[in-house]
């Protein structure tokens, strides 16, 4: 249907309800043309709303249609609906004029809801919800913003904002209810293929009006799913009921009572729902639950088809691997390629766990012999089970010659950069609440040494302060010492004993401090300096960084702490560069000095991948305390979208990973605005902002400050 046809269709469909207010000189054809480009479901909603508004007053319906296109432009569909409902309320209370003038300004309404204090936004709720949903059970689901609430079995789409209730807490609850309801659809098998492999879309296609069939199916499934959740997660079900009670109970047609009873039985499945569907198809369907969202069979079919293919290939590859390992070892010992015989068959048996509804115990066997299931395979098997309810035989045939090649993904990233030898690191996507696997390619290289006498000049410049600095650090230096006259210890302090015995014989009180203790005052610290070499450091920041490093090296040589210095920069995830200035094993030398003087401002700041790599290096060092100190001038920022929340969240995640490996992170920055994001990234106490530098133009003090911060940090 062309847009012109669609426009005509709209005019025709609205002709009867709006007949009272339209005339040859007052038409809706321009509005219809604007709306014609809109997708079907939006159009249906608009026509439906216009008709019900016209039932209240034809003029209302007319005004609604005139402004519907603008409204759809400036707010999501649910809000357009809320906007039209508000118009009816105004009409009831304040009359036609108030209502029509309200309908004339959809933008104002859109602005208003944007700023409503009770609105809960996706960003506020999604972090917690993603954890919650993944905690429940089943395949990992990610959350994303969508026009409507629905799930395609891999992603749950939720509206950008929820303003349905006047209370912020209730709107948050509604987010949770909607997300958990959509999770329940995937978990309780709403989209499971039938025994012939037919998708829901195919099964509904047999009905005269598939869209009506879908809506009725949705309503019946909601009854079944609510019963499942009431059994398994009563607390969640109570929350759902409370929300629904606030929006008014759903009324079902009278003769549905037996159908509802059947759907609520524990043994009911999606097949029950499909069997019952013909019985209700001609009824007026009940209103949707407030948290119900929608069922989108087409999207589900697409996602499922893609996943099934991927899962099947992955399973076959995994089985091939298992078969290879299970093959007689003698063949391998003889240097021959072990041959996987096809006479042995894999079998997977799923037995329902009595305690965890919907969960299964899986047993894998090869030729009748039971095998253990590796944890990474477990998730895959559960995913297949969730889709198919079992394991078809063709899934259990091991792959022939490595059809599924995880290396391919790596190769894909690698193309286009001839530098070679990259290490791949994942990156955290806070919106999907998932890692992007092998996302960043990082390469290490040496800083080009610069023979300029930068280090000597710096040492001369800070000559006076250096004396003081050295003393301060010498005081910190610890040594093994045998502590005498201790109240407790490994050995007896004979001098003390002799004196104590003399005291005793003189009738004096004997000192109890008679032991020696070997006090190991090892500092045992390994520290990694991560120096920002992004473009923004060009100029005085770069000088200050280099001077700081010179003084730090002096101090660290006194202390004997092991230390390494790396600079980082890069552009896009495919080219993350790490510049070696000094490694842990390398002694401080003229070459290191030249490298320090060779530090130059480069491109961008992609911090997450750098932190992951440097934590790995730090972990290879045996030290009691491990420190990762970042010298930086701004927030994470890279060319390909690595900025704002994304960059901050990835950096934060990388720091959390480091912390879990026992690495303490600290950030020294000169960014005045850093107070907004550093506490979130590094934690409330793990950063210092040197912000008075520019104010007093006292750049000279900065390197000394950095050294002093290090001293206090490791006191």
């Amino acid at each position: 249907m062309t847009n012109t046809d669609r426009a005509t269709d709209i005019v025709q469909r609205l002709h009867a309800p709006l007949a009272a207010v339209i005339s040859p000189r007052r038409t809706i054809s321009i509005a219809a043309e604007q709306l014609a480009a809109r997708p079907d479901h939006e159009l249906d909603m608009v026509i439906h709303r216009a008709t019900s508004l016209a039932n209240a007053n034809a003029e209302l319906g007319f005004q609604f249609i005139q402004h519907a296109a603008t409204a759809l432009d400036c707010m999501p569909l649910v809000d357009v609906q809320a906007w039209s409902e508000r118009a009816v309320e105004l009409y009831d209370h304040d009359g036609l004029f108030a209502a029509t003038s309200f309908l004339e300004r959809p933008e104002r309404y859109a602005d208003e809801i944007l700023n409503r204090a009770n609105a809960t936004s996706f960003d506020d709720a999604s972090g917690m919800l993603a954890i919650y949903i993944n905690g429940l059970a089943g395949r990992r689901l990610s959350l994303e913003i969508g026009e409507e609430a629905f799930t395609d079995t891999e992603t749950i789409y939720l509206p950008a904002r929820i303003t349905r209730f006047d209370d912020l807490g209730l709107n948050r609850q509604l987010y949770k209810a909607t997300a958990s309801f959509l999770w329940a659809q995937t978990w309780y098998g709403t989209f499971q293929l039938d025994e012939n492999g037919a998708t829901l879309e195919q099964q509904l296609a047999g009905y005269e009006n598939p869209r009506a069939a879908r809506d009725h199916f949705d309503a019946l499934e909601a009854i079944r799913i609510s019963a499942c959740v009431a059994r398994d997660l009563p607390g969640l079900y109570r929350d759902w009921q409370q929300l629904q009670a606030l929006t008014g109970p759903v009324e079902y047609p009278a003769h549905w009572s037996s159908i509802i009873a059947r759907l609520q039985r524990p043994e009911s499945s999606v097949q029950t729902t499909l069997e019952l569907l013909p019985d209700v198809i001609n009824d007026e369907g009940p209103a949707a639950l407030c948290y119900q969202g929608r069922i989108m069979p087409q999207q589900v079919a697409q996602t499922t088809a893609a996943r099934l293919e991927k899962d099947k290939a992955a399973l076959q590859a995994a089985l091939a691997e298992i078969a290879r390992n299970a093959a007689p070892a003698t063949a391998a010992e003889n240097g021959e390629q072990p041959i996987v015989t096809n006479t042995l068959h894999f079998e997977i048996r799923a037995t329902a766990k009595p305690d965890a509804p919907g969960d299964f115990d899986l047993q894998l066997s090869l030729g009748g012999q039971a095998l253990g299931i590796p944890p990474e395979l477990e998730a895959l098997l559960q995913s297949i089970l969730q889709d198919l309810g079992g394991f078809p035989t063709e899934y259990l045939v091991p792959a022939g010659n490595n059809e599924f090649d995880p290396q391919a993904i790596t190769a894909e990233i690698d193309t286009g950069s001839g530098l070679g030898n990259a290490t791949y690191y994942p990156e955290w996507d806070h919106q999907r609440h998932q890692y992007r696997k092998d996302w960043c390619a990082l390469r290490e290289q040496d800083v080009e040494p610069d023979p300029a006498p930068f280090v000597q000049d710096t040492l001369k410049k800070y000559h006076g302060e250096l004396q003081h600095l050295r003393k301060a650090f010498e005081a910190l230096r610890g040594e093994n010492q045998l502590k005498k006259r201790q109240p407790d210890g490994d050995d007896i302090d004979f001098d003390a004993v002799v004196q104590a015995m003399t005291d005793l014989s003189l009738g004096l009180e004997m000192s109890p401090q008679l032991f020696t203790q070997l006090h190991r005052d090892e500092r045992n610290i390994a520290v990694m300096f991560m120096v920002d070499m992004s473009g923004s450091t060009k100029g005085w920041v770069n000088d200050a960084e280099r001077e700081s490093l010179v003084l730090l090296c002096q101090a660290l040589e006194i202390l004997g702490d092991r230390y390494a210095i790396y600079g980082f920069s890069g552009m896009t995830r495919k080219r993350c560069e790490l510049y070696r200035i000094k490694t842990f094993d390398e002694p401080y030398s003229r070459l290191v000095e030249h490298r320090i003087s060779g530090i130059k401002a480069q491109d961008y700041t992609r911090m997450g991948v750098t932190i992951r790599h440097l934590s790995k290096l730090l972990n290879e060092v045996d030290a009691r305390t491990k420190l990762l100190i970042t010298l930086s001038d701004g927030k994470p920022d890279d060319f390909d979208g690595y900025r704002g929340d994304y960059g901050i969240e990835d950096t934060r995640q990388a720091l959390i990973e480091a912390k879990r490996q026992g690495i303490h992170s600290f950030c020294i920055t000169i960014d005045d605005e850093a107070r907004d994001y550093l506490p979130h990234m590094y934690g409330a106490v793990n950063y210092t902002i040197i912000d008075d530098v520019r104010k007093f133009d006292d750049v000279r003090k900065l390197p000394l400050k950095v050294a002093d911060i290090y001293r206090r940090l490791t006191l």
């Binding site: 429940l136 305690d355 008679l514």
Partner: protein, 271 residues
Amino acid sequence: MSQTHTLPVDEYRITEEPYYRPLGKEIEIFVAAHENRLPILLKGPTGCGKTRFMEHMAWRLKLPLITVACHDDLTAADLVGRYLITSGETVWIDGPLARAVRSGAICYLDEVVEARKDTTVVIHPLADDRRVLPIEKNGELLRAPDSFCLAISYNPGYQSVLKDLKTSTRQRFVAIEFDYPAPELEREIVMAESGIDATMAEKLVRFAGMTRNLKDSGLEEGASTRLLVHAAKLMASGIEPAEACSSAIAETLTDDPEMLEAVNELGASLF
């Protein structure tokens, strides 16, 4: 002017049977290893019953159990013993390990990788077929009686690679692996330990499963069986289930506000 002083070990005897529900063949393996004078290594995450298992085995074998919680300042002298001075004389005081060897008790070194590296070397001659403990400071060579048993534990999950057990140490031991029990078993354990009913116990176990699902999404470890028992005990004393889960489980697992809210919501959804 020197004498040897050994503290009595009878107070380390366990007289009442500690509740323990076997997960597999660990009791048989332990008994067989003990009969053959082999030392034992218990592996597994925190709170899955390693220490309880040791108590149970000590009771079963009717031996005193001397437990040492290892920390990073634990020296060899702390284990073996040292001289003390009392009323003008030096007195040798056995450390827990020497005491266990002398009296043929079970010595259990909990979280042994936390101890200083030199301490693990002290246990080497005890852990192979020599079964001796040389005490250099007083020139004694203690031979372990048949009933003596050395057991160590460690958690392969969270320690850093550096604190891994040395191969030369671990290859002396018979290793028994522990993990969280299967749901039915875990439910039984929670019921037996706390006295709550089966439905509540089952929900707690499902809650634990949910938190274990989150292990890769930001939780370091899921809820252990011990935490479930804590929550169950609170519930048995009349605390609301959701409250009990929050205090006994969620708050102990994480400080991250988002994670905390999600874990609390999971708990609230179940009850």
